[in-house]
Amino acid sequence: MNTTPVQSGTANELYAMLSPELCAELKQHERSMMVSANTALIKHGVLPDQLVIVHSGKVKITFSCSSESVCLDCAEVGKVFGMRAAISGELPEIDVISVEACRITVLPRDAFLSLLKANPEIYFAVAKVLSTDLQIADRILRNSSRRCSSASRAKAPRPI
């Protein structure tokens, strides 16, 4: 299983690319919380109304395949989830589930999009986050070798 490292020494992959002023503005809207293991942070087929930033702990990315859920990747601190849905309004194909107790920050989608509209320079940071998402998807495609034979059944996660 792979992990997705995020630049060390930075709060998260989104804020790392933004000016202190923009970070401060986003921080006004964010909400931090602890979630226990096996909590669904992003659910496939459900439009998230917030971005989820993982600050501590490990989360897994799972993909529903037939009636089974296949764990395909793990992400560590600093990863931002829900960006693609926030930008495009498309439903996520993956589930993101905490493997252990995690400290996360949630940023309401509407607040983020309002700030993005007013500050389009944020798009570069958005592109960086989406690039990581695409790298994860391509790696899953590469590593899964186009089969689901090694699928492992995952426990039903608790809602966030």
Binding site: F63, C65, S66, V70, R84, I87, S88, E90, E93, I94, P120, E121, I122, Y123, F124, V126, A127, K128, L130, S131, T132, D133, L134, Q135, A137, D138, I140, L141, R142, N143, S144, S145, R146, R147, C148
Partner: protein, 240 residues
């Protein structure tokens, strides 16, 4: 015009711009793009990027198609997707500063505009509409990748995978005189080996399944032109 290939040198005058994923930019951005791009024509089989290579920049595919391939964890070559005109190739590497994720090879004579990494990043930072287009393309690519994972993971048989691929290609049919109303012609520039890499099987299996489709009268293959004769039969194979 040479070999029926029209070179588009001026992005401001490109008539395809509005149909393309990346190129429908503001006039200011297009003027800037015009100054930072280098236009080149590539023959079929040209390698634009190599997997693992440090990013030099991006290629905006103007005409032609290119395949993005990578090596699986088992050492097999697999095709991630086929890029269409208007796509920016090498995008994730240029944006994130990491090595190219895939090898990009032209499938037919193609025109591409090269933009160095530094120029592209500045372009992205200076023009909000470029950022929006890049975000849209990354979103689109991600959707394609997950669609591929889902499709290939859920399709249990090679005939089903091949039928799905043919039907997917049929969304962009060839239009030529004399075509019968119930027939759909498509141009397939991939070799059987490449099709095998696309659907995760062997060339021999692709050949066998394709022969089966032809014998049943579901498709006709004449060079690079495939004609779907019985769409319902192909659709009947697809269960997911």
């Amino acid at each position: 015009m040479a070999h029926n290939f029209r070179i588009i040198e001026d992005c401001l005058k490109c008539s395809f711009r509005e149909q393309r994923l990346f190129c429908d930019l503001s006039r200011e951005a297009l003027i800037r793009l015009q100054n930072i791009k280098a236009t080149s024509i590539y023959p079929k089989g040209a390698l634009l990027c190599l997997e693992g290579q440090a990013p030099r920049g991006v290629f905006v595919l103007c005409t032609g198609r290119a395949k993005l391939s990578t090596t699986s964890s088992e050492g097999k070559s697999i095709i991630l997707r086929i890029a269409e005109p208007g796509e920016v190739l090498g995008l994730t590497a240029a944006v994130s500063g990491t090595p190219y994720e895939a090898t990009v090879e032209t499938l037919e004579p193609s025109q591409a505009n090269f933009i160095s990494q530094g120029d592209f990043v500045r372009f992205l930072q200076e023009y909000p509409d470029v950022g929006l287009r890049v975000a849209k393309q990354l979103t689109h690519n991600c959707k394609c990748a997950y669609g591929e994972i889902r499709s290939l993971g859920l399709s249990n048989s090679v005939p089903e995978k091949l039928a799905k691929l043919i039907l997917q290609w049929a969304e962009r049919p060839l239009d030529f005189p004399g075509r019968r109303p119930h027939e759909t012609a498509i141009r397939v520039t991939l070799t059987q080996e490449e099709i095998a890499q696309f659907i995760g099987t062997s060339r021999e299996t692709v050949s066998r399944v394709l022969t089966g489709f032809r014998r049943r009268g579901w498709i006709r293959v004449k060079g690079a032109t495939w004609t779907i004769l019985n769409r319902a039969a192909l659709e009947g194979l697809v269960t997911t």
